[in-house]
């Protein structure tokens, strides 16, 4: 035995899911905080300044590469696990347990994650790609104005609602599940972790959801 099970066992694979998941959650905190600056309602002056810092600071640039790898690892590992888990039950039940013993979203992390991925493609095409193009061309990208243009379209607002909705349910299970996978389960702390996870899963997506809605309705100018 050469400690290989540290990387190959089913528990190790779940550790990767939990660690990358928590890393992606930490990104959400930053992303949500910076974007919430549009609510200052100063024609995006504060928000654009923060966006400029995020797209030019070297530390943030390095973290962005890490974020990309974290996301890819989270997706690839989940695919590997899903394939193995499907193999573990080749014949399905005629009558399935349904919601009698578990929450639907805890059983639908793959579907919710796939919805999130589809949303991410649209989201990055909307904002990430134009920002990068501007940075490479040495121009200043007015992200605030770009948001106004995108969110003027009702279908983009709808896509974003589906995106943050999937995020909410993905987090609702994922946040507390990550701690359990890492072996953190304690009478004192687990109820706290679950409560924080619950409110995080509601608050962060709600703040994100408020952005396209507020812009579409012209509440933020």
């Amino acid at each position: 035995m050469s400690n290989s099970e540290l990387f190959t066992s089913s528990i190790a694979k779940k550790y990767v899911m939990a660690l990358t998941g928590l890393f992606l959650i930490s990104f959400l905190v930053i992303h949500c905080t910076i974007n919430a600056l549009i609510f200052v309602n100063d024609s995006g002056e504060t928000f654009n300044a923060a966006a400029h810092f995020m797209s030019h600071n070297i530390v943030v640039r390095i973290l962005e590469v890490g974020l990309f790898f974290g996301l890819v690892l989270h997706m690839v590992q989940s695919l590997i696990l899903t394939v193995a888990n499907k193999k573990a039950r080749p014949v399905q039940y005629a009558v399935v347990p349904g919601n009698s013993s578990s929450k639907w979203y805890s059983r639908s992390m793959g579907i919710l994650g796939s919805l999130l991925l589809l949303f991410l493609v649209v989201h990055m095409a909307n904002f990430w790609v134009p920002t990068k193009q501007a940075v490479f061309a040495g121009e200043e990208h007015n992200t605030f104005e770009a948001m106004k243009v995108v969110f003027a379209e009702w279908y983009f607002v709808l896509i974003y609602m589906v995106g943050v909705g999937s995020l909410a349910y993905h987090l609702m299970h994922g946040f507390q599940s990550a701690f359990q996978t890492l072996g953190i389960n304690h009478k004192k702390y687990t109820p706290m972790i679950k409560a924080i996870g619950f409110w995080f899963s509601i608050l962060v997506p709600a703040i994100f959801a408020a952005m396209p809605i507020a812009m579409h309705l012209g509440l933020i100018k």
Partner: protein, 253 residues
Amino acid sequence: MSGNMNLTLKVWRQKNAEKKGELVTYPVSNISPDMSFLEMFDVLNEQLITENKEPVAFDHDCREGICGMCSMHINGRAHGPKDAVTTCQLHMRSFSDGDTIVVEPWRAAAFPVIKDLVVDRSAFDRIISKGGYISVNTGNAQDANNLPIPKIDADKSFEAAACIGCGACVATCKNGSAMLFVSAKVSQLALLPQGQAEAKQRVISMVNQMDEEGFGSCTNTGACEVECPKGISLENIARLNREFTLASILEEK
């Protein structure tokens, strides 16, 4: 007698491991609400024998909730609609006259169907043989008070030891994961001083065997804890994760 029920059973029939199986419908009548679910199956089998048909093969042994043999997936739930019971402890009063009841075997790649409702759960035995024990010399047992054990640890170990290896956790898990079973078998020893000597090797070997048998991974839906007839807690799975990670980092072999 009044209050007796007429039911429609849809039972999984499969001749052997190789043959394809199917759900077959059987009507049963005059079923007393005081019968256990297995006794109702005895009635069905009597009926089939009189009709010169092959009786339904199903596992059962103690019929008092401690052997873990009665692996039946009833109406989509392991051991039927009640929580914290085995099939023998499920009574027909949990059903009503005219009900249709679907009975299937445990479904998992690691638990192949042998016949009808009987599955091969020897994968669990192979996991246990990889370290689900402590090595002790024969002879007189030492005085119990030589090893002080905090009450809380003793209780948790006892609760984990209540696992009867019935496989309901695997049967109900959407991934066919055996994590609740393995975590109980690791925890009952990891919580006690007697279990420490072999702790690292135990958890690594048992988890490796679990993976080898083709059980899925744990995604923390919590369904196993709900269906477990002995109320084994998810806390054990967190302990297994901890024990496993530390052991695989620290083990020098």
